[in-house]
Every structure is written in structure tokens, then in C-alpha cells.
């Protein structure tokens, strides 16, 4: 919350306005900043875990506390940070990219913000209860999560928090989808929406299709803990896993797709090129999201209760749409005039690090390989390359790219590059050793290992990497605090962007646009430049505020 208020105080609005207003920019920023604050908290928990694991023996925390740490770390990162942020950046940016004056159903989106805040407070309040916070992992597998195995209010708090935070994302996703359907600028047909807006379409589809399942599952788990006996039968443990992963696999793409959109736009803008293969990429996103609704049981290969061959086939097929997207990233740069600004460095970091996560994802989609590495540090390494290498690097690309738009000031470029390089090195040093730890026999979620296991050296390396990431985040926070006061004025379009948000003032005023350029493709400002028209000159000419005729979007 402190991050949210610090950023918001800088604007002209009071905190009360900022947290109760219906402007999509305030809702989107408050939600993203709150989610980011949870990223910092969840990351701190990870540093505690890495410190504990740096040597054999329980040195810093007890086993019980360690179990609270990894449970709340994973829960924070998915429920309170990644999923809310993935949709909240759409709440802020999709209306701007569509040339709209606001979001559809803003009060619903605002309710989403407050549900997220309440969910976060409740989840962390679990630490204050008699038995401490939940200790069953972010997946809350049954029967470990029943009232016998995990008694106490902390676990109930966790369930309530998950319901609230998941509902929050669902509400905001509905608003983004409705905005896309109803509020596009004149001339903006579906295929003239920018890539980021398209990535939010597939993201929100998946949210709408999968998040209600988790909400219901959590309510069932809550009832079971009250003695209703929902999952107590012989098939209950497997049924719970099906229900959880029907949400749990789509969510990992929910936290990934929007950043594919961001990275695509950053690469195009910093290469001074039109995004290559726009239509195949949009199609690949749709295919990707469709197939990924049918891969969930690849988390259950070792249960001997699912059709392994079917789920292996669908999971492996995902390499086709993913390959199309990677081709588009590279081909966009070919023939361009590439500038390695901080947003571009994070975008390239995303491309390389997510590639490690994607390729190792093909490995664990193969049952004979998964039988060995499932529930080990190999999998921990794999999904950190997708959610840290993918989501977090993509989100930092988004922050460096759009910070000038949000605040009207530039972030310091040298600190930004330092952050990018340190974080990239940190991501390699932290997570590469974990692949080897997993194959060498380190189970996931262990609080300890033996000196004789031969796992110590690689664990030390991983811990050093984690603290490198910590330093890089400190550099980022210094950059933000400094730039909010001292950053160079950004102007409306510091990167020579291609999409409509760069036609608005920085920060965009209430109502967003005084005028809009014609929309003839997914890159309307690039159209102008290629026609020899400077968008800035067009803005000045059209600055007579006549929204009814020029804007047309309100």
C-alpha cells in the first residue's frame, strides 16, 4: 500500500480521490502498485527462504515457519501480485490504447481493487493467528489442507483471501473485456487493436473461463474444513487437484500473455519497426489460450489417475503458437533501427529467460521425464523462468516503457540499465542451479537437506543470485523515488511510440484524449510517421477540445 500511496501522492489528486474515483487510470495504477507492493513482500519471504537454504540445518527459521514462508510466498506471487497486475495494467492501458475516455463499468473495477486489498490484508493476518499462516503450499492439496491435517484460522484466512483476490481479478477482467467490445475508437476494428490490447483479450477470456472454478473450489474447501465432507471420499484428493489445476494452469498463462503483448510493443517501438506478423501472432495467442485450457492435468502425471498421453500431447503442442510468437519478436527487429533502452533490455531479458522456461516446459510435458523431475527443484527452476523471467521481466519492461506516460517524467536510463543487467544476471545465478538440484534429488518445498546430500554448493550459488536480484530491485526503487521528483519531463511521446496512448498527454488527463488521429492499423502513430506526418504537430493542430467530433470515443 505504501508504494501505491507514494506514487499517487505525486499526482494532483488526494489519496481519498485516488482510491475511490472511477478514473480507470487511478484504479489501474492503484491495483498495479498494490500488486507490486505484494511482489516486494513476497520477494522478501523468498530471501528468507534462500537464506535458510544456504546451508544444511535449520539456521534461521523453524520448519513450521519455513512452511508458512513458501506457502505465503507462492500465494502472494500468484494471487496477490502476478494475476492482479496482469489484468490491472490492462485496466490502465487498454482504454488508452483503444482511444477511449474510460473503462466500461469502472465501479466494478474499483470494487476489484478493494477486494484485492482486503484479500491481501486477510492473507497476511494469518501470521497473527494462533497456528500461524497457512502451511500447505499455494496449491492447498487435499487432504493436507483439511481441518485435521492443517487446523487453525490461518488456513481459513488463506482461503478467504484467495476467494477475494481471485474475485478481484475476475471483476477487472470483465471490465477490460467489456471495454474492448464497446469502447474502441472510430475506425478501430478488432484487428486494428494493438498487440497489448489483444493480449489482454486472450488473458481476460482465460480469467473468465477458469477463475470462477477456483472461487468455487475454495468455497468447497472452506465447507469441507467446517466438517461438510466434500472431498473426503476415496477420489477426493484427485478431484481437488483437477479443480485446482483447471484454474492453476490457465493462470500461469494469464500472468504471461499480457507481457507478451507488452514485450511485442516494446520491441517494435525500440526497433522503429511495425510488429512483424501481427495477424499470425494474434491468431497464435488465441490458439495458445484455447489449447492451454486443456493441459491442466500435466501437473498430475505422477498420480496415476489421469490420461497422461492426452495431456502430454496438448502440452507439447503449445510449442507451435509459442514458436510463432518468438519468430515475430526476432523478425520485428530484423531491418530495424534497434535502440537498447531500459524497456528494450527488459524485453530482451524476457525473451531469453522465458525461453528457458518454455523449453524446459516441453521437458516436463513429457511423462517419462516428469516422473523424475515433478515436485523437485527442476520444476521450481522451470516455473521461475516463466513467472520471474517472463512475468516479472515483462512487467519491468512495461514499467520502464509506460512510467513516462503515467507520471510525465522519465526514469533514469543509467539506473534502469544497471537494474536490467543485475536482475538478468541474478535470474541466471539463482535459478539455473535449481535445475541441477532437482535432478540431483532435491524435492520441492523442503526446509532442509543433509550435508551428505551434495546439494550445498549449488544452494549457496542460488542464494547469492537471490540477493543479486534484491540489489537490482533496490536500484529500481531508488530510480523511481528519484525520478518522481527529478526525472526529465517526458512529454506525450518520449519513445516515438506507435499506439494511441502516446497521443495523449503524460499523464493523461481525465477523459484521456482531446483529439484522436485516424486509426488505419494496429500502429496508428507509426502510420502517421510513415506518411511524413509528425504526431506532435497533429496533436497541436487538433488541440481545440471538440471531443464530440474529433475524439468520438467518449
Amino acid at each position: 500500500m505504501s508504494g501505491a500511496t507514494a506514487v499517487l501522492r505525486n499526482g494532483s489528486a488526494s489519496i481519498v480521490d485516488a482510491l475511490t474515483g472511477t478514473d480507470h487510470k487511478r484504479i489501474g495504477l492503484a491495483t498495479t502498485a498494490t500488486a507490486f507492493a505484494f511482489f516486494l513482500i513476497g520477494g522478501s519471504l523468498a530471501l528468507l527462504m534462500r537464506s535458510e537454504l544456504a546451508s544444511p540445518g535449520m539456521d534461521i527459521v523453524s520448519e513450521g515457519t519455513y512452511n508458512e514462508l513458501f506457502t505465503i510466498h507462492g500465494s502472494t506471487m500468484f494471487f496477490l501480485f502476478a494475476a492482479p497486475a496482469a489484468v490491472a495494467i490492462g485496466v490502465y492501458m487498454v482504454p488508452l490504447q483503444l482511444g477511449a475516455s474510460g473503462i466500461a463499468w469502472p465501479r466494478l473495477a474499483l470494487l476489484g481493487y478493494w477486494l484485492l486489498a482486503a484479500g491481501g490484508v486477510i492473507m497476511y493476518a494469518g501470521f497473527l493467528t494462533a497456528h500461524g499462516a497457512a502451511t500447505f503450499g499455494w496449491t492447498a492439496y487435499y487432504p493436507l489442507s483439511d481441518s485435521n491435517e492443517t487446523p487453525g484460522m490461518g488456513a481459513d484466512f488463506w482461503i478467504v483471501a484467495v476467494v477475494l483476490a481471485t474475485t478481484a481479478v475476475l471483476l477487472q477482467a470483465v471490465c477490460v473485456l467489456a471495454t474492448i467490445v464497446r469502447r474502441r475508437a472510430p475506425g478501430m476494428s478488432l484487428l486494428r487493436m494493438p498487440l497489448f490490447a489483444w493480449s489482454e483479450v486472450v488473458t481476460c477470456f482465460m480469467v473468465v473461463a477458469s477463475f470462477p472454478v477456483l472461487i468455487v473450489t475454495m468455497i468447497l474447501l472452506f465447507l469441507d474444513r467446517q466438517g461438510v465432507g466434500i472431498f473426503t471420499g476415496s477420489g477426493g484428493a484427485v478431484t481437488y487437484q483437477h479443480l485446482f489445476w483447471f484454474y492453476g494452469h490457465p493462470v500461469v498463462y494469464v500472468v504471461f500473455f499480457p507481457l507478451v503483448g507488452v514485450v511485442g510493443e516494446v520491441i517494435a517501438t525500440f526497433s522503429r519497426r511495425r510488429f512483424f506478423g501481427f495477424k499470425p501472432t494474434v491468431l497464435s495467442l488465441l490458439v495458445f489460450s484455447a489449447i492451454s485450457m486443456s493441459v491442466w492435468a500435466h501437473h498430475m502425471f505422477t498420480t496415476q489417475a489421469v490420461a497422461n498421453n492426452y495431456f502430454s500431447t496438448t502440452s507439447t503442442l503449445l510449442l507451435v503458437p509459442a514458436g510463432i510468437e518468438y519468430f515475430a519478436f526476432l523478425a520485428t527487429m530484423v531491418g530495424g533501427r534497434i535502440r537498447l533502452g531500459a524497456p528494450m533490455l527488459f524485453a530482451l531479458g524476457f525473451v531469453l529467460l522465458f525461453l528457458i522456461g518454455g523449453l524446459t516446459g516441453i521437458f516436463i510435458g513429457s511423462p517419462p521425464l516428469d516422473y523424475n523431475v515433478h515436485d523437485t527443484y527442476f520444476v521450481v527452476a522451470h516455473f521461475h523462468y516463466t513467472v520471474f523471467g517472463g512475468t516479472v521481466f515483462g512487467l519491468f519492461a512495461a514499467i520502464y516503457y509506460w512510467f513516462p506516460k503515467l507520471t510525465g517524467r522519465m526514469l533514469d536510463e543509467r539506473l534502469g540499465r544497471l537494474h536490467a543487467v543485475l536482475m538478468f544476471v541474478g535470474a541466471l545465478v539463482t535459478f539455473i542451479p535449481m535445475f541441477f538440484l532437482g535432478v540431483d534429488g532435491m524435492s520441492r518445498r523442503v526446509a532442509d537437506y543433509l550435508p551428505t546430500d551434495g546439494l550445498t554448493t549449488l544452494n549457496v550459488v542460488a542464494t547469492v543470485g537471490a540477493f543479486t536480484i534484491f540489489v537490482s530491485v533496490v536500484v529500481f526503487l531508488v530510480n523511481v523515488v528519484r525520478s518522481l521528483r527529478l526525472g526529465e519531463p517526458a512529454g506525450p511521446d518520449p519513445w516515438k511510440g506507435q499506439t494511441l496512448e502516446w497521443f495523449a498527454d503524460s499523464p493523461p488527463p481525465a477523459g484521456n484524449f482531446a483529439s484522436l488521429p485516424p486509426v488505419r492499423s494496429h500502429a496508428p502513430l507509426l502510420d502517421l510517421r510513415e506518411d511524413g506526418v509528425d504526431p506532435a504537430a497533429l496533436r497541436r493542430r487538433a488541440s481545440i477540445p471538440d471531443r464530440a467530433t474529433v475524439g468520438g470515443a467518449s
Binding site: 513450521g64 512452511n67 492439496y141 487432504p143 493436507l144 491435517e149 471420499g233 476415496s234 477420489g235 484428493a237 526497433s271 522503429r272 511495425r274 512483424f276 506478423g277 501481427f278 499470425p280 505422477t302 496415476q304 497422461n308 498421453n309 502430454s312 503442442l317 510449442l319 507451435v320 510463432i324 518468438y326 526476432l330 527487429m333 530484423v334 531491418g335 530495424g336 533501427r337 535502440r339 537498447l340 530482451l348 525473451v351 525461453l355 523449453l359 524446459t360 516441453i362 521437458f363 510435458g365 513429457s366 511423462p367 517419462p368 521425464l369 516422473y371 523424475n372 515433478h374 515436485d375 534429488g441 524435492s443 518445498r445 523442503v446 526446509a447 543433509l450 551428505t452 546430500d453 510513415e530
Partner: protein, 216 residues
């Protein structure tokens, strides 16, 4: 022997690993080349150029589909072979029971039980080079029986049985190599077992001695 858990891992990994590494190196090299070749120099300009080559995309998508199909065929064949081997039946049978936080190994045909306690790490004793059939269950939460050296694990559930087969090739005593892979609560990381692989003759001797002790 190629359809053992180890053999099937090697069969699939030996294709996936070089392919995955190759693709990664290819992307890195392409990226480095593109960044050097088309790095902005001098004047700021918008070079334009083609932004769509659908025949190339279609051919590329077809290539990716062929690669995916190849991997799927390899994986499904390997997995089917492994499961067929599991169904073939073995002379030595072990019932595995997981309990928070220990393992229990029972040899139903031999009348032998090794039950772990807080002070005693149980030992799985098996003959070398012969398949061993396992049937697994749990008395409480889900556990997962994992021997990294055999490249295989399987979950064990309360109220449900799972079964699998392993073949241990190298004789010797491996201290604490067996692990629980499914998080099961407070002392999950302590839930270990030893694996003792004996020659078939030595295993028969062990079984007779242990069976006699158990019988008295």
C-alpha cells in the same frame, strides 16, 4: 532393460536435451546477430519494410508442428513401453506405505516388514537386475515415493492404491537416497529411506534370514 524407469528417461532425455539446448543456442545467436546488425546508428529514422510474410509463417508453423509431432510420438511410445513393462509382473513385490513422516516397506510374499520411526530410517532392500513391483498407499496425506537414481516417482494416496515397477542395476547400500517428493507437512524434508541393492543370491539369503526372524 531399455523399458526400465532409467532406460526410458535416457531414451527421452537424450533427444530432448540436445534439441532444447540447440534451440536455445540458435535463438541466442540469432538475437546477438540481429542486435549487432541492426543496432541504430546515427540518424533517427523509421526504415519501414515488410511486416508480413504469411507463406513463411505457414511453412514455419508446419515445421513446428512436425517437431511437436516427433516429440509427442517419442514421448508416447516411451510412456507406453514403460507402462507395458509395469504390467508385465515381477517376482519380488513390495507394499509401500507413506505416513507423516516415514515409510513402511512390506514384502507380502516374504513376511518381512521394515517400518521407519523417528529414530530408524527404513531400508528398501531389493535384488539387482530384477524387476520389483511396488504397490503404494498412504495412511494420511499424499506422499510421493521418489528415488532420484531410478529417475522415477509415484504418488501414494490414502484410500487408493498406485502401482509401479523399478529395476535396480547397481549393487550397494545407498544411504537416505529415497525421498518424499509431495509436500506433506512439518517434517516433509526428513521423510527419507535407504536403498540396499543386493545380488539376487544375497537377496534370497536376506529374505530367508529376515523371514525366519519375522516368523519367530
Amino acid at each position: 532393460m531399455s523399458d526400465t524407469t532409467n532406460g526410458v528417461w535416457d531414451r527421452v532425455f537424450d533427444v530432448y536435451a540436445p534439441l532444447g539446448l540447440g534451440v536455445f543456442v540458435l535463438v541466442v545467436l540469432s538475437l546477438v546477430f540481429v542486435l549487432i546488425r541492426w543496432r541504430a546508428r546515427g540518424r533517427d529514422e523509421f526504415p519501414g519494410g515488410r511486416d508480413e510474410r504469411n507463406p513463411v509463417e505457414i511453412a514455419y508453423a508446419a515445421l513446428l508442428t512436425v517437431v511437436a509431432a516427433g516429440l509427442i510420438v517419442l514421448t508416447l511410445n516411451a510412456n507406453d513401453d514403460l507402462e507395458a513393462q509395469f504390467d508385465s509382473g515381477a517376482d519380488v513385490k513390495v507394499d509401500v506405505t507413506g505416513a507423516r513422516w516415514n515409510w513402511r516397506f512390506e514384502y507380502p510374499d516374504l513376511g518381512i516388514v521394515d517400518q521407519g520411526t523417528r529414530e530408524h530410517i527404513p531400508t528398501l532392500t531389493v535384488p539387482a537386475g530384477e524387476p520389483v513391483d511396488f504397490t503404494g498407499t498412504s495412511v494420511d496425506v499424499i506422499h510421493s515415493f521418489w528415488i532420484p537414481e531410478e529417475r522415477f516417482k509415484r504418488d501414494v494416496f490414502a484410500q487408493r492404491e498406485t502401482d509401479w515397477q523399478m529395476t535396480f542395476d547397481e549393487e550397494g547400500f545407498m544411504s537416505g537416497v529415497g525421498r518424499c517428493a509431495e509436500f506433506c507437512g512439518l517434517r516433509h524434508s526428513d521423510m527419507r529411506f535407504n536403498v540396499h541393492v543386493l545380488s539376487p543370491a544375497a537377496f534370497d539369503g536376506w529374505a530367508r534370514r529376515q523371514g525366519r526372524e519375522a516368523g519367530t
